[in-house]
Protein backbone atom coordinates (compact mmCIF):
# COMPACT_ATOMS: atom_id res chain seq x y z
CA UNK A 1 0.00 0.00 0.00
CA UNK A 2 2.89 2.30 0.82
CA UNK A 3 4.17 2.29 -2.75
CA UNK A 4 0.75 3.33 -4.06
CA UNK A 5 0.92 6.43 -1.86
CA UNK A 6 4.46 7.12 -3.08
CA UNK A 7 3.39 6.70 -6.70
CA UNK A 8 0.42 9.02 -6.22
CA UNK A 9 2.61 11.59 -4.50
CA UNK A 10 5.05 11.86 -7.45
CA UNK A 11 3.02 14.26 -9.65
CA UNK A 12 2.40 16.53 -6.65
CA UNK A 13 6.07 16.41 -5.70
CA UNK A 14 7.25 17.18 -9.21
CA UNK A 15 4.73 19.98 -9.72
CA UNK A 16 5.58 21.32 -6.26
CA UNK A 17 9.27 21.35 -7.14
CA UNK A 18 8.57 23.04 -10.48
CA UNK A 19 6.39 25.76 -8.93
CA UNK A 20 8.99 26.09 -6.19
CA UNK A 21 11.68 26.71 -8.80
CA UNK A 22 9.44 29.43 -10.22
CA UNK A 23 8.95 30.77 -6.66
CA UNK A 24 5.16 30.35 -6.84
CA UNK A 25 3.30 30.10 -3.50
CA UNK A 26 1.36 27.14 -4.93
CA UNK A 27 4.43 24.96 -4.31
CA UNK A 28 3.65 24.65 -0.57
CA UNK A 29 0.19 23.00 -0.87
CA UNK A 30 1.46 20.76 -3.68
CA UNK A 31 4.47 19.60 -1.68
CA UNK A 32 2.35 19.23 1.45
CA UNK A 33 -0.01 16.93 -0.49
CA UNK A 34 2.96 14.93 -1.78
CA UNK A 35 4.24 14.54 1.79
CA UNK A 36 0.82 13.51 3.10
CA UNK A 37 0.37 10.93 0.32
CA UNK A 38 3.86 9.47 0.27
CA UNK A 39 5.03 9.96 3.86
CA UNK A 40 8.61 10.43 2.64
CA UNK A 41 10.85 12.31 5.09
CA UNK A 42 12.82 13.96 2.27
CA UNK A 43 9.59 15.39 0.85
CA UNK A 44 8.70 16.68 4.33
CA UNK A 45 12.05 18.48 4.47
CA UNK A 46 11.51 19.94 0.98
CA UNK A 47 8.06 21.13 2.10
CA UNK A 48 9.52 22.75 5.22
CA UNK A 49 12.08 24.57 3.09
CA UNK A 50 9.27 25.82 0.83
CA UNK A 51 7.34 27.02 3.90
CA UNK A 52 10.52 28.73 5.11
CA UNK A 53 10.82 30.57 1.77
CA UNK A 54 7.14 31.51 1.60
CA UNK A 55 6.13 32.18 5.22
CA UNK A 56 9.43 32.64 7.02
CA UNK A 57 11.54 30.77 9.52
CA UNK A 58 9.07 30.84 12.41
CA UNK A 59 6.26 29.26 10.36
CA UNK A 60 8.63 26.50 9.17
CA UNK A 61 9.82 25.79 12.70
CA UNK A 62 6.23 25.62 14.04
CA UNK A 63 5.25 23.25 11.24
CA UNK A 64 8.32 21.06 11.84
CA UNK A 65 7.53 20.83 15.56
CA UNK A 66 3.94 19.90 14.74
CA UNK A 67 4.98 17.19 12.29
CA UNK A 68 7.47 15.84 14.83
CA UNK A 69 4.47 15.19 17.07
CA UNK A 70 2.15 13.70 14.47
CA UNK A 71 4.40 11.91 11.97
CA UNK A 72 8.05 12.13 13.04
CA UNK A 73 10.85 11.47 10.56
CA UNK A 74 14.62 11.80 10.89
CA UNK A 75 14.64 14.42 8.09
CA UNK A 76 12.14 16.61 9.99
CA UNK A 77 14.17 16.24 13.19
CA UNK A 78 17.31 17.37 11.30
CA UNK A 79 15.51 20.38 9.86
CA UNK A 80 14.11 21.40 13.25
CA UNK A 81 17.47 20.74 14.91
CA UNK A 82 19.47 22.80 12.42
CA UNK A 83 16.99 25.67 12.70
CA UNK A 84 17.21 25.53 16.51
CA UNK A 85 21.00 25.43 16.33
CA UNK A 86 20.98 28.45 14.02
CA UNK A 87 18.87 30.30 16.57
CA UNK A 88 21.31 29.39 19.35
CA UNK A 89 18.84 27.05 21.10
CA UNK A 90 21.39 24.33 21.75
CA UNK A 91 19.34 22.22 24.16
CA UNK A 92 16.39 22.11 21.80
CA UNK A 93 18.70 21.16 18.93
CA UNK A 94 20.19 18.36 21.05
CA UNK A 95 16.69 17.07 21.73
CA UNK A 96 15.90 16.97 18.01
CA UNK A 97 19.23 15.25 17.32
CA UNK A 98 18.47 12.54 19.89
CA UNK A 99 15.00 12.01 18.43
CA UNK A 100 16.34 11.95 14.88
CA UNK A 101 19.04 9.43 15.76
CA UNK A 102 16.38 7.25 17.36
CA UNK A 103 14.61 7.05 13.99
CA UNK A 104 17.63 5.74 12.08
CA UNK A 105 19.68 7.47 9.39
CA UNK A 106 18.31 10.27 7.25
CA UNK A 107 18.99 9.71 3.58
CA UNK A 108 20.61 13.13 3.06
CA UNK A 109 23.17 12.52 5.81
CA UNK A 110 22.37 15.78 7.57
CA UNK A 111 21.95 14.22 11.03
CA UNK A 112 25.72 14.07 11.16
CA UNK A 113 25.93 17.74 10.16
CA UNK A 114 23.67 18.61 13.09
CA UNK A 115 25.70 16.39 15.42
CA UNK A 116 28.96 17.99 14.31
CA UNK A 117 27.47 21.47 14.49
CA UNK A 118 26.43 20.79 18.08
CA UNK A 119 29.87 19.45 18.98
CA UNK A 120 31.41 22.65 17.62
CA UNK A 121 28.84 24.81 19.40
CA UNK A 122 29.74 23.34 22.79
CA UNK A 123 33.11 25.07 22.43
CA UNK A 124 35.26 22.04 23.13
CA UNK A 125 37.52 21.64 20.07
CA UNK A 126 38.60 18.24 21.39
CA UNK A 127 35.12 16.76 21.25
CA UNK A 128 34.59 18.10 17.71
CA UNK A 129 37.90 16.52 16.64
CA UNK A 130 37.02 13.23 18.32
CA UNK A 131 33.66 13.23 16.56
CA UNK A 132 35.34 14.11 13.26
CA UNK A 133 37.72 11.14 13.69
CA UNK A 134 34.77 8.81 14.26
CA UNK A 135 32.84 10.24 11.31
CA UNK A 136 35.87 9.97 9.04
CA UNK A 137 35.43 6.19 9.23
CA UNK A 138 31.88 6.50 7.86
CA UNK A 139 31.67 6.10 4.09
CA UNK A 140 28.07 7.24 3.67
CA UNK A 141 28.33 10.93 4.50
CA UNK A 142 27.31 13.69 2.08
CA UNK A 143 30.09 15.91 0.65
CA UNK A 144 29.06 18.87 2.81
CA UNK A 145 29.70 16.89 6.01
CA UNK A 146 32.92 15.30 4.74
CA UNK A 147 34.25 18.72 3.80
CA UNK A 148 33.65 20.07 7.30
CA UNK A 149 35.07 17.09 9.20
CA UNK A 150 38.13 16.71 6.95
CA UNK A 151 38.85 20.39 7.38
CA UNK A 152 38.59 20.01 11.16
CA UNK A 153 41.02 17.07 11.06
CA UNK A 154 43.40 18.98 8.78
CA UNK A 155 43.69 21.89 11.18
CA UNK A 156 43.86 19.60 14.18
CA UNK A 157 46.88 17.93 12.58
CA UNK A 158 48.39 21.33 11.74
CA UNK A 159 48.03 22.77 15.22
CA UNK A 160 49.17 19.51 16.80
CA UNK A 161 52.42 19.59 14.81
CA UNK A 162 51.61 16.52 12.70
CA UNK A 163 52.68 18.34 9.57
CA UNK A 164 53.13 15.34 7.28
CA UNK A 165 49.60 14.20 8.02
CA UNK A 166 48.34 17.76 7.52
CA UNK A 167 50.04 17.98 4.11
CA UNK A 168 48.51 14.65 3.05
CA UNK A 169 45.07 15.80 4.17
CA UNK A 170 45.36 19.19 2.44
CA UNK A 171 46.50 17.58 -0.80
CA UNK A 172 43.62 15.08 -0.69
CA UNK A 173 41.10 17.89 -0.15
CA UNK A 174 42.59 19.85 -3.05
CA UNK A 175 42.40 16.83 -5.32
CA UNK A 176 38.61 17.15 -5.11
CA UNK A 177 37.91 20.89 -5.22
CA UNK A 178 39.14 24.38 -4.44
CA UNK A 179 39.48 24.52 -0.67
CA UNK A 180 40.90 27.80 0.67
CA UNK A 181 41.53 26.34 4.15
CA UNK A 182 43.68 23.60 2.64
CA UNK A 183 45.58 26.20 0.59
CA UNK A 184 46.21 28.14 3.82
CA UNK A 185 47.57 25.00 5.48
CA UNK A 186 49.93 24.44 2.54
CA UNK A 187 50.90 28.13 2.69
CA UNK A 188 52.00 27.71 6.31
CA UNK A 189 53.92 24.50 5.53
CA UNK A 190 55.69 26.16 2.58
CA UNK A 191 56.58 29.08 4.84
CA UNK A 192 57.96 26.64 7.41
CA UNK A 193 60.25 25.17 4.76
CA UNK A 194 61.35 28.62 3.59
CA UNK A 195 59.77 28.19 0.14
CA UNK A 196 58.47 31.73 -0.32
CA UNK A 197 57.48 31.31 -3.97
CA UNK A 198 55.30 28.30 -3.14
CA UNK A 199 53.88 30.03 -0.07
CA UNK A 200 52.84 33.04 -2.17
CA UNK A 201 51.20 30.74 -4.72
CA UNK A 202 49.08 29.04 -2.05
CA UNK A 203 48.19 32.34 -0.40
CA UNK A 204 47.05 33.70 -3.75
CA UNK A 205 44.95 30.62 -4.47
CA UNK A 206 43.13 30.79 -1.13
CA UNK A 207 39.99 32.69 -2.11
CA UNK A 208 38.81 33.92 1.28
CA UNK A 209 37.37 37.16 2.59
CA UNK A 210 40.00 39.31 4.27
CA UNK A 211 39.13 38.52 7.94
CA UNK A 212 39.04 34.75 7.28
CA UNK A 213 42.31 34.90 5.39
CA UNK A 214 44.04 36.73 8.24
CA UNK A 215 42.45 34.29 10.73
CA UNK A 216 43.94 31.30 8.91
CA UNK A 217 47.27 33.13 8.61
CA UNK A 218 47.26 33.44 12.40
CA UNK A 219 46.43 29.73 12.79
CA UNK A 220 49.03 28.79 10.16
CA UNK A 221 51.72 30.79 11.95
CA UNK A 222 50.74 29.15 15.24
CA UNK A 223 50.97 25.72 13.63
CA UNK A 224 54.56 26.38 12.52
CA UNK A 225 55.42 28.07 15.84
CA UNK A 226 55.90 31.52 14.32
CA UNK A 227 54.24 33.11 17.33
CA UNK A 228 55.62 36.61 16.71
CA UNK A 229 54.10 36.67 13.22
CA UNK A 230 50.85 35.29 14.64
CA UNK A 231 50.69 38.09 17.24
CA UNK A 232 51.30 40.73 14.58
CA UNK A 233 48.50 39.37 12.40
CA UNK A 234 46.21 39.01 15.39
CA UNK A 235 46.29 42.76 16.02
CA UNK A 236 45.29 43.22 12.38
CA UNK A 237 42.47 40.68 12.83
CA UNK A 238 41.09 42.60 15.83
CA UNK A 239 40.28 45.51 13.56
CA UNK A 240 38.66 43.23 10.96
CA UNK A 241 36.53 40.76 12.96
CA UNK A 242 36.37 40.74 16.76
CA UNK A 243 34.81 37.25 17.04
CA UNK A 244 37.42 35.62 14.82
CA UNK A 245 40.15 37.52 16.68
CA UNK A 246 38.90 36.19 20.03
CA UNK A 247 38.85 32.69 18.59
CA UNK A 248 42.40 33.02 17.30
CA UNK A 249 43.52 34.55 20.58
CA UNK A 250 42.24 31.48 22.44
CA UNK A 251 44.36 29.29 20.18
CA UNK A 252 47.38 31.53 20.63
CA UNK A 253 47.09 31.57 24.42
CA UNK A 254 46.60 27.80 24.46
CA UNK A 255 49.76 27.34 22.39
CA UNK A 256 51.79 29.79 24.43
CA UNK A 257 50.74 28.20 27.72
CA UNK A 258 51.83 24.82 26.35
CA UNK A 259 55.16 26.28 25.31
Amino acid sequence: MQWIGKLLSLPFLWLGQLTGMLKLPLSVPLLRTAWLLGGDGQVARTTLLAIHHRDGLHAARVQAARWMETSPRAEIAVFAGLMALGAGEVELAEGFLARGQGMGKDRDGLLELLEFGLAGQCGATGSATQLARRMEQQRDLPPVVSRVILNQLLWDAMLDGRHDEARRRAEHLLEVEDMPQAEMALWALAKLHGDQRRADKHLQRAKLASPQKVYFQVLGNLAIRAHADARELLSQLHSLDATLARNAEDFLQGKESLA
Partner: protein
Protein backbone atom coordinates in the same frame (compact mmCIF):
# COMPACT_ATOMS: atom_id res chain seq x y z
CA UNK B 1 7.09 14.72 -30.87
CA UNK B 2 3.77 12.85 -30.97
CA UNK B 3 2.31 11.25 -27.86
CA UNK B 4 2.34 7.83 -29.55
CA UNK B 5 6.06 8.16 -30.24
CA UNK B 6 6.73 9.29 -26.67
CA UNK B 7 4.77 6.33 -25.25
CA UNK B 8 6.65 3.97 -27.57
CA UNK B 9 9.99 5.32 -26.35
CA UNK B 10 8.97 5.54 -22.68
CA UNK B 11 9.67 1.91 -21.56
CA UNK B 12 13.10 1.85 -23.21
CA UNK B 13 14.01 5.23 -21.76
CA UNK B 14 12.82 4.30 -18.27
CA UNK B 15 14.83 1.05 -18.40
CA UNK B 16 17.86 2.85 -19.81
CA UNK B 17 17.78 5.73 -17.32
CA UNK B 18 17.29 3.37 -14.38
CA UNK B 19 20.19 1.15 -15.39
CA UNK B 20 22.32 4.23 -16.12
CA UNK B 21 21.80 5.85 -12.71
CA UNK B 22 22.04 2.51 -10.91
CA UNK B 23 25.44 1.94 -12.56
CA UNK B 24 26.74 5.32 -11.32
CA UNK B 25 25.54 4.57 -7.77
CA UNK B 26 26.75 0.97 -7.73
CA UNK B 27 30.21 1.78 -9.10
CA UNK B 28 30.61 4.59 -6.54
CA UNK B 29 29.66 2.15 -3.82
CA UNK B 30 32.22 -0.40 -5.08
CA UNK B 31 34.90 2.31 -5.01
CA UNK B 32 34.22 3.16 -1.37
CA UNK B 33 31.52 5.82 -1.47
CA UNK B 34 28.36 4.61 0.26
CA UNK B 35 26.54 7.93 0.08
CA UNK B 36 24.51 6.89 -3.02
CA UNK B 37 23.53 3.71 -1.15
CA UNK B 38 22.36 5.79 1.81
CA UNK B 39 20.29 7.84 -0.62
CA UNK B 40 18.66 4.65 -1.88
CA UNK B 41 20.19 4.96 -5.34
CA UNK B 42 21.83 1.50 -5.49
CA UNK B 43 18.50 0.19 -6.66
CA UNK B 44 16.84 -0.88 -9.90
CA UNK B 45 13.54 0.66 -8.79
CA UNK B 46 12.85 3.31 -11.49
CA UNK B 47 11.04 5.62 -9.06
CA UNK B 48 14.30 6.11 -7.16
CA UNK B 49 15.90 7.55 -10.29
CA UNK B 50 13.27 9.41 -12.29
CA UNK B 51 13.16 13.18 -12.13
CA UNK B 52 10.32 15.52 -13.02
CA UNK B 53 12.08 17.50 -15.73
CA UNK B 54 13.82 14.44 -17.14
CA UNK B 55 10.55 12.52 -17.45
CA UNK B 56 8.69 15.53 -18.85
CA UNK B 57 11.46 15.92 -21.42
CA UNK B 58 10.65 12.44 -22.79
CA UNK B 59 7.33 13.87 -23.97
CA UNK B 60 8.71 17.18 -25.21
CA UNK B 61 12.12 16.25 -26.61
CA UNK B 62 13.37 13.01 -28.05
CA UNK B 63 15.35 12.29 -24.86
CA UNK B 64 15.04 12.19 -21.06
CA UNK B 65 17.27 12.02 -18.01
CA UNK B 66 17.23 10.72 -14.46
CA UNK B 67 17.89 12.33 -11.11
CA UNK B 68 21.69 12.76 -10.93
CA UNK B 69 23.42 10.45 -8.46
CA UNK B 70 25.22 12.55 -5.87
CA UNK B 71 28.69 11.18 -5.30
CA UNK B 72 30.97 12.11 -2.40
CA UNK B 73 34.41 12.41 -3.97
CA UNK B 74 36.06 12.70 -0.56
CA UNK B 75 35.25 9.02 -0.01
CA UNK B 76 37.33 7.97 -3.00
CA UNK B 77 40.93 6.91 -2.53
CA UNK B 78 41.88 8.41 -5.90
CA UNK B 79 39.22 11.10 -6.49
CA UNK B 80 39.98 11.82 -10.14
CA UNK B 81 40.42 8.21 -11.26
CA UNK B 82 37.43 6.93 -9.28
CA UNK B 83 35.16 9.77 -10.40
CA UNK B 84 36.16 8.99 -13.98
CA UNK B 85 35.18 5.35 -13.49
CA UNK B 86 31.91 6.31 -11.80
CA UNK B 87 31.07 8.78 -14.57
CA UNK B 88 31.82 6.24 -17.30
CA UNK B 89 29.78 3.53 -15.55
CA UNK B 90 26.43 5.02 -16.66
CA UNK B 91 27.09 5.14 -20.43
CA UNK B 92 28.90 1.78 -20.26
CA UNK B 93 25.87 0.20 -18.55
CA UNK B 94 23.68 1.50 -21.40
CA UNK B 95 26.05 -0.02 -23.96
CA UNK B 96 26.08 -3.31 -22.04
CA UNK B 97 22.29 -3.33 -21.98
CA UNK B 98 22.26 -2.62 -25.72
CA UNK B 99 24.68 -5.54 -26.20
CA UNK B 100 22.36 -7.84 -24.25
CA UNK B 101 19.43 -6.68 -26.40
CA UNK B 102 21.40 -7.44 -29.59
CA UNK B 103 22.32 -10.89 -28.24
CA UNK B 104 18.68 -11.60 -27.42
CA UNK B 105 17.68 -10.37 -30.89
CA UNK B 106 19.89 -13.11 -32.36
CA UNK B 107 17.82 -15.59 -30.34
CA UNK B 108 14.50 -14.12 -31.52
CA UNK B 109 15.83 -14.11 -35.10
CA UNK B 110 16.72 -17.79 -34.89
CA UNK B 111 13.38 -18.57 -33.27
CA UNK B 112 11.60 -16.69 -36.06
CA UNK B 113 13.61 -18.45 -38.77
CA UNK B 114 13.47 -22.03 -37.49
CA UNK B 115 10.69 -22.52 -35.00
CA UNK B 116 8.09 -19.82 -34.82
CA UNK B 117 7.96 -17.98 -38.13
CA UNK B 118 4.34 -16.95 -37.77
CA UNK B 119 4.37 -16.23 -34.08
CA UNK B 120 3.62 -12.53 -33.69
CA UNK B 121 4.94 -12.47 -30.10
CA UNK B 122 8.44 -13.23 -31.42
CA UNK B 123 8.20 -10.35 -33.87
CA UNK B 124 6.95 -7.96 -31.20
CA UNK B 125 9.69 -9.09 -28.81
CA UNK B 126 12.33 -8.69 -31.51
CA UNK B 127 11.30 -5.12 -32.27
CA UNK B 128 10.91 -4.25 -28.57
CA UNK B 129 14.49 -5.40 -28.04
CA UNK B 130 15.60 -3.36 -31.03
CA UNK B 131 13.90 -0.28 -29.60
CA UNK B 132 15.37 -0.73 -26.12
CA UNK B 133 18.84 -1.44 -27.56
CA UNK B 134 18.73 1.59 -29.87
CA UNK B 135 17.51 3.92 -27.12
CA UNK B 136 20.31 2.75 -24.85
CA UNK B 137 22.98 3.40 -27.47
CA UNK B 138 21.54 6.90 -28.04
CA UNK B 139 21.48 7.47 -24.26
CA UNK B 140 25.12 6.45 -23.96
CA UNK B 141 26.11 8.72 -26.85
CA UNK B 142 24.17 11.75 -25.64
CA UNK B 143 25.58 11.35 -22.15
CA UNK B 144 29.11 11.53 -23.51
CA UNK B 145 28.53 15.07 -24.84
CA UNK B 146 30.87 17.25 -22.77
CA UNK B 147 28.23 19.68 -21.48
CA UNK B 148 27.27 19.71 -17.77
CA UNK B 149 25.42 17.97 -16.23
CA UNK B 150 26.01 15.18 -18.76
CA UNK B 151 28.61 12.54 -17.92
CA UNK B 152 30.89 13.68 -20.72
CA UNK B 153 31.63 16.92 -18.86
CA UNK B 154 32.73 14.99 -15.76
CA UNK B 155 34.95 12.71 -17.80
CA UNK B 156 36.87 15.66 -19.26
CA UNK B 157 37.27 17.22 -15.83
CA UNK B 158 38.97 14.02 -14.69
CA UNK B 159 41.21 13.76 -17.75
CA UNK B 160 42.49 17.32 -18.10
CA UNK B 161 45.43 17.98 -15.76
CA UNK B 162 44.98 20.89 -13.38
CA UNK B 163 41.19 20.70 -13.29
CA UNK B 164 39.38 19.48 -10.20
CA UNK B 165 36.42 17.09 -10.47
CA UNK B 166 34.10 19.24 -8.33
CA UNK B 167 34.78 22.25 -10.59
CA UNK B 168 31.83 21.40 -12.82
CA UNK B 169 29.21 21.71 -10.08
CA UNK B 170 28.89 25.41 -10.75
CA UNK B 171 26.97 27.01 -13.61
CA UNK B 172 25.01 23.84 -14.33
CA UNK B 173 21.80 25.83 -14.92
CA UNK B 174 23.37 27.80 -17.76
CA UNK B 175 24.46 24.55 -19.37
CA UNK B 176 20.95 23.09 -18.91
CA UNK B 177 19.63 25.97 -21.02
CA UNK B 178 22.29 25.23 -23.65
CA UNK B 179 21.25 21.57 -23.67
CA UNK B 180 17.55 22.45 -23.91
CA UNK B 181 18.26 24.70 -26.90
CA UNK B 182 20.44 22.01 -28.43
CA UNK B 183 17.68 19.40 -28.20
CA UNK B 184 14.63 21.54 -28.87
CA UNK B 185 16.11 23.17 -31.99
CA UNK B 186 17.19 19.77 -33.30
CA UNK B 187 20.85 20.83 -33.62
CA UNK B 188 21.64 17.52 -31.99
CA UNK B 189 19.79 15.61 -34.74
CA UNK B 190 22.83 15.00 -37.01
CA UNK B 191 24.65 13.24 -34.14
CA UNK B 192 21.62 11.11 -33.26
CA UNK B 193 21.00 10.35 -36.95
CA UNK B 194 24.63 9.23 -37.33
CA UNK B 195 24.30 6.93 -34.32
CA UNK B 196 20.96 5.54 -35.48
CA UNK B 197 22.28 4.81 -38.99
CA UNK B 198 25.19 2.83 -37.58
CA UNK B 199 23.06 1.09 -34.95
CA UNK B 200 20.61 -0.09 -37.60
CA UNK B 201 23.50 -1.68 -39.45
CA UNK B 202 24.50 -3.86 -36.49
CA UNK B 203 21.00 -4.82 -35.37
CA UNK B 204 20.04 -8.40 -36.36
CA UNK B 205 17.08 -8.39 -38.75
CA UNK B 206 14.26 -10.86 -39.18
CA UNK B 207 14.32 -12.66 -42.54
CA UNK B 208 12.11 -10.95 -45.08
CA UNK B 209 11.46 -7.89 -42.92
Amino acid sequence: MSLEMALLLLPGLVIGLTVHEFAHAWSASLLGDDFPRRQGRVSLNPFRHLSFLGTLAIFLLPIGWGKPVQVNLYNFKHPKRDYLITSLAGPLANLLLAGICIALMQVTRLAYRHALPSHSAVIVLHYALMLVGTINIVLATVNLIPIPPLDGSKIWLCLIPGLRPAFGRKATWAFMVVLFILFSTKWIQPLIRLVLDNVQRIMPRLDGM
